[in-house]
Symmetry: D2
Subunit: 343 residues, 4 copies
């Protein structure tokens, strides 16, 4: 049972709820640092539920009490039956149109970003991705251009109008990243970095949350919950491939995740075919599959010269390959009754 307080509920109201929970014999768990307080009451047996809901909902400052049985609550379709549609810079994600985010894995130079941004725009992409801070397995690998990369991305946005998606690794980078980005990306390695999720939950920009390589889907929704419970409900889920034991591909695209997440949750769901299959030659068929399975869009790596990329070149599309992919994806989108984003 989860008691959701009103935004701005007074501390005394929260205290009164906590007291009542304790009086009823339960240990209340209040998550530290949450702006909109949520009080979890665990271990409630079925016979008590009706009475307790009534009691808690009658308290001052309580917005609602939810009985959702899944381990995720705010991200559940039972909590919010309609699709969540997220608007960012004039683009809507999760609505009727398919949205494609394109751009390089890492921002490497001003020219690279600008050229790619124009190619993404020309191909029909609606947002620009690009890594400024890169989480790399090795400390000896290229770690991103940092602040400089953010400035290049901003210039690309100015020229093309494409909103920016960039990864955030560390709460300490928030002031800098928030100055530039339109959407925060949480990488697969950080899906369970709960402190980072909590901080992003207190921002007012959408969060693109990538699935961890061995995260169960309900764990992914619980990760989204860490963001949402802090007040930021604009979370975009992204399947990016799970660990593979067959070395034929880099990861295993869990295409099942698309319809499962769309049924379990109201949040938009994207597929990242670049990481999930890992080789340029198979990105387009997997992109088609993702849209056919019901994804709300794609996030795809595009690079003007993949063979010289500082990271992940083997899975990037060249501008003309991106354009071809978009043509094919558009036909699939139409076949499932969805159009290209009007931008």
């Amino acid at each position: 049972m989860v008691i959701i307080m009103q935004q701005g509920a007074a501390p005394e109201q929260v205290e009164a709820v906590i007291d009542t929970v304790q009086t009823q014999g339960f240990t209340p768990f209040v998550n530290p640092g949450v702006e909109r307080k949520v009080i979890a009451v665990l271990g409630v047996v079925d016979s008590q539920k009706v009475t307790l809901v009534d009691k808690f909902e009658s308290l001052e400052g309580v917005e609602r009490v939810t009985l959702i049985s899944e381990p995720y609550k705010l991200s559940s379709r039972n909590y919010h039956p309609a699709d969540t549609i997220i608007e960012v810079g004039g683009v809507t994600i999760g609505g009727p149109d398919i949205v494609v985010i394109g751009g390089p894995c890492s921002v490497e130079s001003r020219e690279q970003v600008l050229e790619t941004a124009h190619a993404v725009k020309a191909g029909g992409g609606k947002l620009l991705r690009g890594g400024a801070f890169k989480p790399r397995s090795s400390p000896y690998s290229f770690q991103g251009l940092g602040n400089t990369a953010l400035e290049f991305l901003a210039e690309a946005r100015e020229q093309t109008g494409l909103p920016i998606v960039t990864e955030i690794l560390d709460p300490d980078d928030l002031p800098m990243v928030s100055e530039f980005t339109d959407v925060y990306q949480v990488g697969a390695r950080n899906m369970s970095n709960f402190r980072l999720l909590q901080r992003l939950g207190r921002t007012d920009k959408p969060v693109l949350l990538k699935r961890g390589p061995s995260a169960k889907l309900r764990e992914m929704l619980q990760a989204a919950e860490y963001i949402m419970v802090e007040g930021n409900h604009r979370v975009i889920l992204c399947e990016r491939g799970i660990i593979a034991w067959d070395d034929a591909t880099r990861n295993t695209t869990d295409i099942n995740a698309i319809p499962v997440l769309k049924q379990w949750s109201h949040l938009p769901v994207l597929l990242d075919p670049s990481h999930s299959v890992g080789y340029t030659r198979w990105v387009t068929p997997i992109a088609r599959a993702g849209v056919a399975a019901g994804a709300d869009g794609l996030i795809v790596e595009v690079h003007p010269n993949p063979s010289e990329a500082l990271s992940d070149g083997s899975q990037a599309l060249k501008p003309d390959q991106f354009k071809q992919m978009m043509d094919q994806v558009r036909r699939i989108a139409n076949a499932v009754g969805r159009g290209p984003n009007a931008g």
Copy 2:
């Protein structure tokens, strides 16, 4: 290096090739019981290759010598660049049109099979599947109706014209099964039952080979090789889901397998969305994804009354659900430039 003898090469010709291989210092491996003899010469170093190919190809009875570096040879696209198109009972598999195979997991009764067959036909399915011999994890589970089931399937074929696909578990069942079926199905559990594969390689009917739940794609092609090396090149590959560590779905649909197999091999590739996702409500989106990814067709479980099915009821489509799936699949097929089978 693989030396492929001509069909009907004389034993003395084979012997002469073997002698020559030995004279050159290699141990020849001739697979027992192969009608078209294939002699593998392993361990040839690069510098010797040109000379040896010339030498072996000049011997009498040799059809060709192949230097294919993959561990699979006859199933490789390097060996046979064009798509293999398999014709069975007037239906073509692997050609321009998408082919859908529908039917119950297990044949349970005459009425059940006939009703399902008509529904499959009405929905646009081109072949009828149905299990007569069921490999079940437990010896206490329903094991299939056996011979009786085959007769029901044959009656359904007579009424609808749909060719039959049924599983074969044991070489000893070959005389009985071959009397009825049009396509042999090898189940996932038997993908590495090499003796069964070898026997099917000596038959003249197509073999639908399901991927083992933890088989790498190259192992699947090597399994196909066991059939092909015996003379039967009509093998249909089928992705049916790999083992999952997320209990959200029954298996993990390896959608990546579709474009990989289509590139590596010339054989037709199907997807079984029923097993690969395992729940009726997600079968249709996964079916769409399979066709969008480039599959040549689907094999789908259909049952008039899934809640009473003796096996796998939770993943079967009812006739009207099958029809809806077909409508959606047809739109995807058109979007990727493929039509429904003209039948």
Copy 3:
């Protein structure tokens, strides 16, 4: 609910039981070809159980009715609380002493087998393993010496007194293999080859059943059940590694399987450290771990000259390495209160 008939129950007695099951409103499943008939009655609800057990146990020819809730019955410790001890050629498996089976992956020559057998004997091994028929991923790989290999193994047994363990791939090989072997080995690829298991269930020799690379432990016990339900209760379970996504090792040794299987089942449990880790240099520590975890013994690859082995050389121990492993394993065996086999 499972009704187990007496050995040699008359057909009319079986019929009478089946009639009674049907009269009670259940569909009885009788497995075809079982010598000791077992009749499964599925779907019995709790409230009916006591009455039905009484009714069925009162019928003539019925040995017992079991209510075991696990999907495996005869292999369950609930069915047979004491450890099963299997005696073969004077060696006991599953008793207080640790038993080690050693020998080459494939029998390659008379000299190789004899030399290895003497090394295994000298090191303290109690049985000799050696493959005559090899299931190989590729049809172009060495497939074993067949009958000749069996004769070499028999000669080695004569010289050393070590009973033989060899793999059986195909029911058709039974007459030949049964003439020579003391224990049938079912390889990982065949764990779900239920027809093979059923045939072995009708023999009178122990069966060493290897776990499939993606088989759940309850599926392994269900596979054992296929053998046991036919009358042969002398099944030895063997963990041999599950599929790995980390290429650091060949497979992942599922060490957890050892205590789980020992608790769930009364059957002896072995570990195959050679396959499960896949590299000679790590075989000994994994062998130690297996015995420490509670395994009843080990099956280990030994080869006089691993670098020239026709299969799996990279995981074989040389005779002196085998001796060192045995010394270490003996110390671990003592530490867990078990001695070396008295032979």
Copy 4:
């Protein structure tokens, strides 16, 4: 090629090295915020290596240039052939004696911690573990007592003399946690939280690094590298189970990881049998297996009353079970030539 600067090398010395690298035609990567600067020079071809090593090693401020081919360098046994032995509070980890760390998953109360600490001490444990900040899949689960828990742990240390191991989730908690703990624990979810690793690399306390549930062993060593490259070489590796597709156990204990890590790296290696198998009844056999496989020690969950634990109660040992485990582990330690820690 990796150029390691001396501790306290002057900025001008670092600049001079960078200039030289650029002059030679390479792009130097200097990791931001590293106290002991390390400059990676990637893409050096073999023929250039000798010349470049000479050139770079002759520059002022350079400590050494390493050519280690593995993707991890400082953690490689090639870099440091002898075992690393870590001393903390009078206990040595990685030396001849096996070290056992025991304690509750979460610190729940003063009484619980004190009682557990005395039980761990009595049983022969050498360090006390206890979670103050808990990373939980759900934001509604108990998240730890925080600062209060740290104070309870400190009191337990005072009473028992056992050094403390506690998890750190967030660099922002460092000031508080560092005041109390003796060893920082990085949980499995944070193994790839590179920013956290970097911060811990700048501390002077040992770091117990748990393997991510789908991390390859080389990725784990690369994670260790993130800590070591910052100057803190006191890293303890810990296998804690990888994701399992068999629900028989909570995770799959990757016992192979023990000998592999001990060969590849000089760092101490522990096993956490509590998480890796996940059920109390199997913790002891897996603990024995870990030590038999060559682990330098164990980290085990102990709770005075597991059935009332706020987290992970189903895998905790009671004090008497801990004592029994220790008796058995001691016998295994002796069998592999290692003693209990003298403390």
